[in-house]
Symmetry: C2
Subunit: 465 residues, 2 copies
């Protein structure tokens, strides 16, 4: 396990706040060891740092009360959505109160005429899309997990549809936020665009709960396209697949999704999701548009793919086949873990300018081989973002050292290519050293903003900065 | 003229900095009255507040030197692009140094494979698009004026293409910024997406030079579509035209542009641009896509328009006809001013959720009539954004009072409809009271950020907050 540094605890403050919250929230404040551990980090090799208690508010006013109590006694507040983050975002290195937002899971308003909706932060992406389906609408952002939308906003999440629809930063119109002093603000109105003052919406998105706690999200929605078709195509090498992607993007085909699986990932998907995909590097695509439009897009892609040695090109508009393929893609994290039972997963998350994609993926695979590691790779390749998932025996110190070496080497390489160490997972605890390598002096001003808004550093301390 | 409040001047500091900069920059520091006035506000009825000097840096290092000198002596720094802003952004209410970035007008790199480019802030949008044309690329954001891209980033500008391509916030990948202490930062790398830390890129976009001075911009580019077609369609009423727009957006037609002109605006365009458009409310559209795609889009729009009484629907792919129509649209501000020679223009800029658009535009027109004013109206209606341009005789106190009444009334109405007082022009000096009405408590935290990054309030003081 990666030992995240523990921070000094304010024992007196924590005791006081526990007393206040116990009296106010009764059974909605939980302090059992098991529930506290569930609310620390559980998904990757970062060590679990449990909060002192978990509280389950049911309204913005209750969140404000909690934050005010914590602010008065300088006690950490750690927002919790579904706990699916990969970089230790929900850990409590200085103890404090985990604010579990799962009870704030109401879809408040769907403004179908305006293609937007207002939701509470605990609503999950699947819950929202199930609710929207009958109205012919959907919300496109889809990280692998069925995460909460508040958490997705906090980490600037994206997923397979980002190549066409953007990330959370592009799909949130406004936020309600409980600030570190407990005050409640709205960051924007519901207009589709605005030049009114500093963009606090975007400042909060990706701030990982360190500047405030999101209690309401106004999201842009999309109409379900008239036609959706999926396609898959196999390639002789990862390099060939990446080059086909680069050409597709440069050609301006408005693909909705374009995902790559390397050979090991295809094998994992076949085993886990009971598929029989050809075991070579694979691209999965989706096209959204009119009936004629999706046919045109698929044909144009098909001829690009051919130029790069693509074979077994198959397109389908069958909903069942499509769903099976994309469910398999969303299950890749779990499928890949099965390639080496008992191993722990360490997911990398670099994102580079697309002209460097083939070079970066190929170099990563060579490095994994050189180190003798196992690292199936999948990617949101249309955005230049890919995940090599190292499968590591945590009892083996040599392997762990090599994994550390790989992660550092890959992040450094992506940064040297004018890319980022994190395309969508966030900084959390795990990537803090790389943020400084990536953005240098800019982090000084991030710290100044943090200090101005949260002078006592109570909001999710030990993350990002 | 609207009398913007003058702020206290730091005479000693200003004298000292003028001496330092004169020695360092020689003739590139100008203090003549005429050039100083040209670098204050000149476009609308807000009173001109000239800076004490104008300096013309040629590099980021020089900008950093200037800002460091001003920071050391607590002297205001006012960034200047092309001076086309409408809300007093370039005024110097406390005096200080106007930093004219017109000499920093180099296109540094075009990464055509990555669909991005890196430019200096003084590059104008027309200059960039002329440069890109041969490579089959374009930059879509197009405010009416041929503004500088640094200025467009600073005000979060948009224009006619925003309905499809978004605003400056959606089309900037990264910025280089000279911070208020003179340090130079980069806000992001060139990857298409990132979850690395606070989104300083978006914080700077729309901050109107109050948090730092943009010295380099990395922009997303678009491939010139395979096919472009334009269309126009006349409607019996503004309400009918707006309702056709609402249906078009809700139907998910990916229009690239959808602009409305009311009767007076059509008359103005006919006179100024020598056109012969039917003198009824008009929609101008543009479709981008494949040859088949643009035909399909135009047909779908055509049948929606018919349902709302649209007539004289004409589509064209002729470049010449298209350019003539869109040039007329871009010249609307000047054309409208000619409707009443000698009058001053006061452009409103509200933006509302699209479901409220017809109601808001109609109410605005009724109010203009009720007050006995003249206010031709055009709009980026696909985004719910429109401009009623009041044409006012500035010698007539009664008219001026009515204009003030209208502006306040319209901003209040838009805010009450969950909209904004500014879709794209920014707050500047003119809209400061409305920012507080619109975002309330959020402005407290904007002030905290401003104070943290610019404790001596030297960066464009008296704007936004």
């Amino acid at each position: 396990m990666v030992q995240a540094t523990a921070l000094p605890r304010n024992e007196v403050g924590i005791e006081t706040v526990l007393g206040i919250l116990k009296q106010r929230f009764g059974d909605r404040l939980q302090t059992g060891q098991s529930i506290r551990e569930q609310h620390g980090h559980t998904t990757t090799w970062i060590v679990n740092q449990s909060p002192d208690a978990v509280v389950f508010p049911e309204s913005t006013a209750e969140v404000s009360e909690i934050v005010k109590a914590c602010a008065a006694h300088k006690v950490p507040v750690i927002p919790f959505g579904t706990g699916t983050s990969l970089e230790g975002h929900v850990n409590a290195p200085a103890g404090g109160i985990s604010v579990d937002l799962s009870q704030m899971n109401q879809i408040l308003t769907v403004n179908s005429e305006d293609l937007d909706c207002v939701i509470q932060p605990g609503v999950t992406r699947e819950q929202l899309n199930t609710h929207l389906r009958d109205q012919g609408l959907f919300f496109p952002i889809d990280p692998g997990a069925n995460a909460s939308l508040g958490g997705m906003a906090s980490t600037r999440a994206s997923g397979t549809n980002a190549v066409r629809y953007g990330t959370m930063k592009d799909n949130v119109l406004a936020l309600e936020v409980v600030m570190p002093d407990g005050e409640v603000i709205r960051t924007a109105q519901r207009a589709k665009k605005s030049s009114a003052g500093y963009d606090l919406t975007r400042l909060m998105i990706g701030s990982e709960g360190t500047l405030g706690l999101i209690t309401e999200v106004t999201l842009k929605l999309q109409g379900i396209p008239e036609a959706i078709s999926s396609a898959r195509c196999s390639f002789p090498t990862v390099d060939a697949a990446c080059r086909a992607v680069m050409m597709t993007i440069q050609f301006g085909i408005p693909v909705a999704r374009i995902e790559m699986l390397d050979v090991q990932s295809v094998q994992a998907a076949n085993a886990y999701s009971k598929l029989s995909l050809p075991e070579t590097p694979l691209l999965l695509l989706e096209f959204h548009g009119s009936e004629a439009g999706v046919v045109e897009q698929a044909e144009t892609f098909g001829s690009i793919a051919e130029d790069f040695g693509g074979v077994d090109f198959e397109a389908t508009t069958s909903t069942e086949e499509r769903n099976k393929l994309w469910q398999a893609r969303h299950d890749m994290y779990w499928a890949s873990l099965q390639l080496r039972p008992g191993a722990s997963g360490i997911s990398t998350d670099v994102c580079v300018p697309i002209s460097r994609l083939a070079e970066c993926v190929t170099a990563a695979q060579d490095k994994v081989a050189e180190l003798g590691l196992m690292g199936p790779t999948v990617g949101h390749v249309g955005d230049g973002n890919f995940h090599t998932l190292l499968l590591i025996d945590m009892e083996n110190h040599d392997e762990k050292a090599k994994a550390d070496e790989f992660v550092g080497w890959l992040n450094d390489m992506a940064i040297s290519m004018d890319g980022t160490c994190t395309g969508e997972h966030g900084i959390g605890q795990g990537k803090r050293p790389y943020l400084i390598k990536e953005l240098g002096a800019a982090t000084t001003y991030m710290k100044a903003i943090k200090a101005a808004l949260d002078p006592d550093n109570i909001m999710n301390p030990g993350k990002i900065l």
